[in-house]
């Protein structure tokens, strides 16, 4: 799956974040969501969707090689991860997320829950060309 985000369609409702937390953590807890919505107010007065584009910065900087690409998605191996949070610091989108109540970070695995729920069509998942 390849995500496409259309910032201009986002209305900042945050439904995507709640659906993400419910899908991935079985929790009504948007603080755990693996994407960010940034409201830029009062100026320029818009929303930016920050979404993992699988750039690999997290994997490149992980000191214990706990993050690796599997089927087009970088995943954190909880057995190897030491919780140093280096990946959280280097993530250019700010979507490697330190999890409340957990010592390990988490990241988007392209489950598509956000795109499925988004009422504005601002996040769209398409079949990847090179999956």
């Amino acid at each position: 799956m390849t995500p496409t985000v259309i910032h201009e369609k986002c209305s900042g409702c945050g439904t995507c974040k709640l659906a993400c937390a419910m899908e991935n953590f079985s929790a009504v807890q948007p603080a755990r969501a693996l994407l960010r919505i940034e409201g830029r107010f009062p100026a320029p007065g818009d929303y930016q969707i920050h979404f993992c584009d699988q750039c690999g910065e997290c994997a490149d900087n992980c000191p214990v090689d706990a993050i690796a690409m599997e089927a087009g998605v970088y995943r954190v191996d909880p057995d190897l991860c030491t919780g140093c949070m280096t990946c959280v610091e280097v993530c250019p989108k700010g979507v490697m997320v330190e999890q409340p109540g957990s010592e390990l970070p988490a990241k988007c695995i392209l489950c598509g829950a956000c795109a499925e729920i988004c009422p504005r069509g601002a996040i769209v998942m398409t079949e990847s060309m090179h999956a």
Partner: protein, 636 residues
């Protein structure tokens, strides 16, 4: 308790005491949440007869069981207090993201009493709760203060602020949040200002307990699909509430020149389409809302430029119609001024239009006001808002609201001081809309439309679905006279139970009222989230209980409260509408009395409009009946 956060946060500003207490299950069962909690807490804990600015007054922020859950538009927060505008029961609600954040921090409700020794703000970061000095935030505009706090605390904090109007106790000061959402009505911002609280900053990272998460998630996802499939979804969302501007003019209910008439011939310059063409940058939605009413944009006028959310329909009505600003840019700028200063656009528009009419009639002089004031003049709006918020000169009088101002000015100016119970009237003129008139007369906080919106019962050419409301741009035709009908009472009462039920649940009513999202969906979501099987009909019974409780609070707090408090200003019962589709119509006093007779009888209230013991007992409010009897309010 599933659905709820489970804790009430109490803060006594005078002593600095911060207390967390478990949410009582019986309270949740009997009053659901939100507005229901507000009413019950005010009845139980408000010391009788105190001034609204007495430090013993309560300021309550309450969420509902569905707030923060995967339910369409679950971002509502309800605020309650004793109203500085009316002296009676007050509540005002707001969308945005504040309430869900409060719940994720662990609190269903925040109850503030006392008064801070110095200007302060409340800091809530999950378990960490502090009263912090407001420092330089005090004195800042409401929007500016929100930006300052976001910059200082971080984007993850949801911020509620008051503007200078709240600090100065303007009786229609509002609460502001999310750069454009307001709890505008009843003066809730003035009460927070009287407690010297500039802002409340909340960050919540916790989770909410759910009875059956799997089914709640599935039903939630299905709900979004169903809402998106409603025909109204694509029709309502583009323009939001501003989309009805055409219709209200074409059926002649648009307040114009201080409710002198009910049609503005420039309406197509200030409608929803004008917003899209001239202002809009982005849709701006409340938490989990699939149908964002908010249109955020930028306006340019000769007085200045501003980023602003809106204007919503009500602001268009009160500034575009009632103050007769002729362009959407000017209406939006007036909107921005109110937002930054922290005043309700509805009451502010009504106060300014009343002042202009007083000036035109020679009841207020240029010397008293400080300059000539005119309709269709943005400088007038700007000047008077500045005076009001500074409480300078004429502004000190106008900051009291139209009712109190008219009492001072005299000379018959009360006849066109457009309010009920001291709360200024919102955006629908009703001299040919008796059901809607009755809704305004009997709304528990004063002249407000959101308790019952029943124009469909009155108007020929009335809307049957959202398409009729927003299609607009059609013809302006003379309306036939509406009939005074006994069934108006039942119609109004049903609406007064349905719409405010959403205020108890902590969600927005729009999906049901405007889009026709069926009640069965809410019943299912309520069950999966809370584990309680409650039918819509049974919950409407709770809504009736709440309605009788809010009426009881006003009866207890306002000396002589009753039928005489339920009348509109004389303009509506004596002056025929001079122009537009409803030219010549008015509703004589005897017809208004008749409407009240039917309404009181249907509610089981006495001829003076007070709930009877029998009615209170039927609704499970025996303790209310006992207290009102003991205090001499109830005599039968």
């Amino acid at each position: 308790m599933y659905g709820y956060a489970g804790t009430i946060l109490r803060i006594d500003l005078s002593s600095g005491a911060i207390e967390k207490q478990p949410l009582d299950e019986t309270l949740a069962e009997r009053f659901i949440g939100g507005r229901g909690f507000v009413a019950k807490l005010l009845f139980d804990e408000l010391p009788r007869g105190i001034d609204p600015y007495d430090e013993r007054n309560l300021f309550i922020a309450a969420t509902g069981p569905l707030s923060g859950h995967l339910v369409p538009a679950s971002g509502k927060t309800h605020f309650g207090t004793k109203s500085p505008a009316t002296g009676g029961y007050a509540d005002s609600n707001m969308g945005g993201h504040f309430g869900p954040a409060l719940k994720y921090a662990g609190y269903d409700m925040l109850i503030i009493t006392g008064c801070s020794p110095v200007p302060s703000y409340l800091f809530i970061d999950d378990d960490q709760v502090e009263i912090r000095p407001a420092g330089n935030y005090w004195g800042q505009g409401a929007l500016t203060a929100e930006k300052s706090l976001k910059t200082d605390l971080g984007e993850d904090f949801q911020i509620l602020t008051i503007g200078p109007a709240g600090e100065q106790r303007v009786r229609y000061a509002c609460l502001s949040h999310d750069f454009g959402r307001q709890a505008g009505r009843s003066g809730v911002g003035a009460v927070l200002g009287s407690k010297r609280i500039k802002a409340i900053a909340v960050k919540g990272t916790g989770s909410l307990p759910v009875f059956d998460l799997k089914k709640a998630f599935a039903a939630g996802k299905e709900a979004y699909k169903k809402v998106s499939a409603k025909p109204g979804f694509t029709e309502w969302t583009p323009e939001g509430t501003a989309g009805i501007t055409n219709w209200v003019n074409e059926v002649g209910v648009f307040p114009t020149r201080n409710f002198k008439t009910s049609f503005s011939d420039h309406y197509q310059a200030i409608n929803g389409k004008a917003i899209l063409k001239k202002l809009k940058i982005t849709d701006k939605g409340c938490y989990c809302c699939p149908t964002p009413c908010g249109k955020y944009g930028h306006t340019q006028t000769r007085l200045g430029n501003a980023y602003v959310e809106g204007p919503e329909y009500e602001t268009i009505a009160l500034f575009g119609g009632n103050c007769e600003l002729k362009t959407i840019e000017e209406v939006a700028y007036a909107n921005y001024l109110c937002d930054e200063l922290g005043v309700d656009t509805i009451s502010a528009g009504a106060v300014i239009s009343w002042t202009i009419e007083c000036f035109e009639k020679g009841m207020l002089s240029e010397r008293e006001i400080g300059r000539p004031v005119r309709f269709s003049d943005l400088e007038t709006v700007n000047y008077l808002l500045d005076k009001i918020v500074a409480r300078e000169g004429i502004g000190d009088l106008l900051a009291e609201g139209v009712k109190k101002a008219a009492e001072k000015v005299g000379q018959g100016s009360h006849a066109f001081a457009i309010h009920v119970k001291g709360l200024e009237w919102t955006g629908y003129e009703c001299r040919n809309a008796p059901s809607m008139m009755l809704a305004y007369m009997t709304a528990d906080i004063g002249a407000h439309h959101s308790r019952a919106w029943v124009l469909g019962h009155d108007m020929a050419g009335a809307w049957t679905n959202v398409h009729d409301l927003v299609s607009g741009g059609g013809t302006v035709e003379r309306q036939p006279p509406a009939r005074i009908r006994a069934d108006s009472a039942r119609f109004v009462i049903d609406s007064q139970h349905t719409r405010p039920l959403f205020d108890a649940l902590g969600i927005c009513r729009l999906q049901l009222m405007e889009l026709g999202f069926e009640v069965e969906n809410y019943e299912a979501l309520f069950y999966f989230i809370t584990g309680k099987k409650r039918s819509w009909k049974e919950m409407l019974g709770v809504s009736e209980r709440i309605w009788n409780l809010t009426r009881s609070i006003s009866a207890r707090e306002i000396k002589g409260f009753g039928r005489s408090w339920d009348f509109p200003p004389d303009r509506f019962s004596t002056e025929p509408i001079p122009s537009g589709p409803n030219e010549g119509y008015f509703i004589p006093k005897e017809s208004l009395d008749q409407l009240l007779d039917w309404y009181y009888a249907e509610r089981g209230w006495d001829a003076n409009g007070l709930p009877t013991r029998q009615t209170l007992v039927r609704l499970g409010l025996e303790e209310v009946a006992d207290q009102l009897t003991a205090e001499g309010v109830l005599t039968h």
